[in-house]
């Protein structure tokens, strides 16, 4: 719960403390992902994982502009979306570790986390699922007149799939308060997005008259500004908004990906625009935060993750006798 409050505490106008929180949240995601990776290699995290490293500013920027009650649908690359929204990283790590104390008691794993308390309606292992689900969640918010919005995160490659097209159209027809956040990391798995996508992604929502903006997805402040506008648009009843956050994935698509498809030098170029590097710079320049303070945050987060893993590894696995589950 503390995490949840902190995630959204930033508000529209932020002071230095708020800015620090944004940075901390991005660092938390990065360190979380590094930890998942190392725990995966140790055999403590199972199956497969899709890490969010490099894309932190997108999730953190968008979620920091939400208010309690707004709903989020993430993807299989959803640790970042979850932490950005305020899911307790302990519960999340425990889920990866398959423990009873996990967000879903070990039933979900990396790709399908749900945390209703945190307003995370779910992470969706099936490409496009988040789009359809958030559209439906927005329908509920509209009919219940809550003033809440719903956010769908998804990737560039997902813009070629059924859920994308059908849901965008329906959302626009019904003027649903949903924000479609396309995290364009230039690749659909191992394939450059231009090889599989006709035209610019942005022209698709625009063809339906949906409010659209493209933004630097590695600059958390730029994302916040654009997300704020998109959320405002949706919340006002004007219908869906579409945000394309241009970003880059620093690690493999999933656990076993050597990244051979990357263009030479591309990764290095993007690393110069690491959201954490950009974040530090902005914090130092705009908020006069000194580097030591930020190093200290890094150290705190590192410590936090160590403790999380320690507690997670000590937590019990679910009792196999309870495999069944009951359907209400």
């Amino acid at each position: 719960m503390a995490e949840k409050t902190q995630a959204k505490a930033a508000g529209a106008e932020i002071d230095a403390a708020g800015a620090r929180d944004l940075y901390r949240r991005m660092r938390l995601i990065r360190t979380f992902e590094d930890t998942v990776q190392s725990q995966f290699q140790k055999g403590n995290v199972h199956g497969t994982t899709h890490l969010y490293s490099g894309q932190e500013a997108s999730g953190v920027g968008v979620c920091s502009m939400l208010r309690d009650g707004d709903k989020v649908a993430g993807t299989y690359r959803g640790h970042g979306h979850s932490i950005a929204l305020g899911v307790d990283p302990q519960k999340l790590m425990d889920e990866m570790l398959g423990r009873e104390t996990g967000a879903c008691g070990g039933r979900a794993g990396s790709m399908n986390v749900v945390d209703v308390e945190a307003d995370l309606i779910g992470c969706f292992g099936i490409v496009g699922g988040s789009i359809g689900a958030a559209t439906g969640a927005a329908l509920a918010e509209k009919l219940r007149r809550t003033g809440n919005v719903a956010v769908a995160f998804f990737g560039d490659g997902t813009s070629n799939q059924a859920y994308f097209h059908e849901s965008l159209n329906w959302a626009q027809i019904e003027k649903l308060p949903v924000i479609f956040v396309c995290e364009n990391n230039l690749y659909m798995e191992f394939t450059p997005i231009e090889n599989v996508t006709a035209g610019a992604i942005g022209s698709r929502p625009q063809a339906m008259g949906i409010h659209y903006r493209q933004v630097d997805g590695n600059d958390v402040f730029a994302v916040r500004e654009a997300a704020g506008e998109a959320i405002e648009h949706a919340r006002s009843g004007a219908g869906p908004a579409f945000l394309e956050t241009m970003t880059y994935r620093f690690v493999g698509h999933s656990r076993s990906d050597p990244g051979k498809y990357r263009k030479p030098g591309e990764l290095d170029e993007w690393k110069k625009r690491d959201p954490l590097v950009l974040g530090r710079k902005a914090l130092e320049e705009r908020y006069g935060l000194d580097p030591e303070r930020l190093d200290q945050i890094d150290a705190e987060v590192a410590k936090q993750l160590e403790e999380i893993v320690e507690r997670g590894l000590a937590a019990p696995f679910p009792d196999p006798a309870n495999v069944g589950g009951e359907f209400k």
Binding site: K71, A73, G102, A103, C104, G105, G106, R107, A108, N112, V114, D115, V116, E117, I121, G122, F124, G125, I126, G129, I131, G132, A133, A134, T135, G136, A137, A138, L139, A140, E141, L143, R144, A150, A162, Y163, E166, S167, N169, W170, I173, E174, G325, F327, K328
Partner: protein
Amino acid sequence: MPEDNETIEYRVAIREAIGDEMDRDESVVFFGEDVAIAGGVFAVTPGLHERFGERVIDTPISELAMSAGAFGAAVNGLRPIFEIMFADFLLLSMDSLVNQAAKYWYVSNEQAPCPLVVRSAMGAGGNFGAMHSQSPIPWLQGVPGLKVVAPATAGDAYALLRQSIRDENPVAFLEHKRLYSVKDPVSEVETLPLGEAAVVREGADVTLVSISKGVRDCLRAADELAEKGVGAEVVDLRSLRPLDTETVLASVAKTNRVVMVEEGPLVGGWAANLLGIVAAEGLHDLDDAWVIACPETPIPYTPTLEDAFLPDEGRIVHEVETRLGLRAEIATGA
């Protein structure tokens, strides 16, 4: 619903069940293609939009988004009902039904329910051809987390639909096209539990098991068989998940013979599946057991072929007579 003991048309019973639940619970909403202003292509839902306004919505032709929209709304406080016009089109919705709705309760570790109902018109017999006549049961029954309900009478349709809407998890509610115009007594109860089969006719010699329209075929067959001195017990499964094997086993323990009648294929169908479960649990009660199903092909259009394709009471009577040895007796004049 009308309170006297009159009859009601199947399609009207469905309309009233929706209307009554929408009256009772504000969170119930209903959407589908041409269901609101036009009242649905099978004239099941006229009047609901007028009564409930924005809670009854016409959608684009977007079966997948519709299903996912119902899912997203269901996990976020509504109880959506949506219509997939012909059950054949459920194939376009399946990812959302199976990968989203059916899994939510379990995978979320029972954090939140997913109360949605997908209504759909299934079944052959109207010469609609291979892509507008299918039973979706073979695709849907093996999906843990998704209930599959298919009422045989107008009264059951009313009570089972009200219960389906109240159910905390997804329900596929299948309406046989050939039943929309039948009239039956109104339901005496507001709801019926899901997963309880009913013995709709008692008999001592053979058990006929079916669901939906097949139950009515079995009942007519039982009438004919009675004239020939065979007492056929008829079990209406009413739902295929949950599956009430107890009621079937109890009937089989009495009659020792069972026929499952399915409008669908033998291979991969519910009928042989249920027979397998019965065999596993009640093998020594069985003197004879078989399945009446359709040929292993798509459904043909033309009346001569479609009629031959579908099981009917004539075939049930004939097979029971034959398997029970009555045919031989008749033939030999015994």
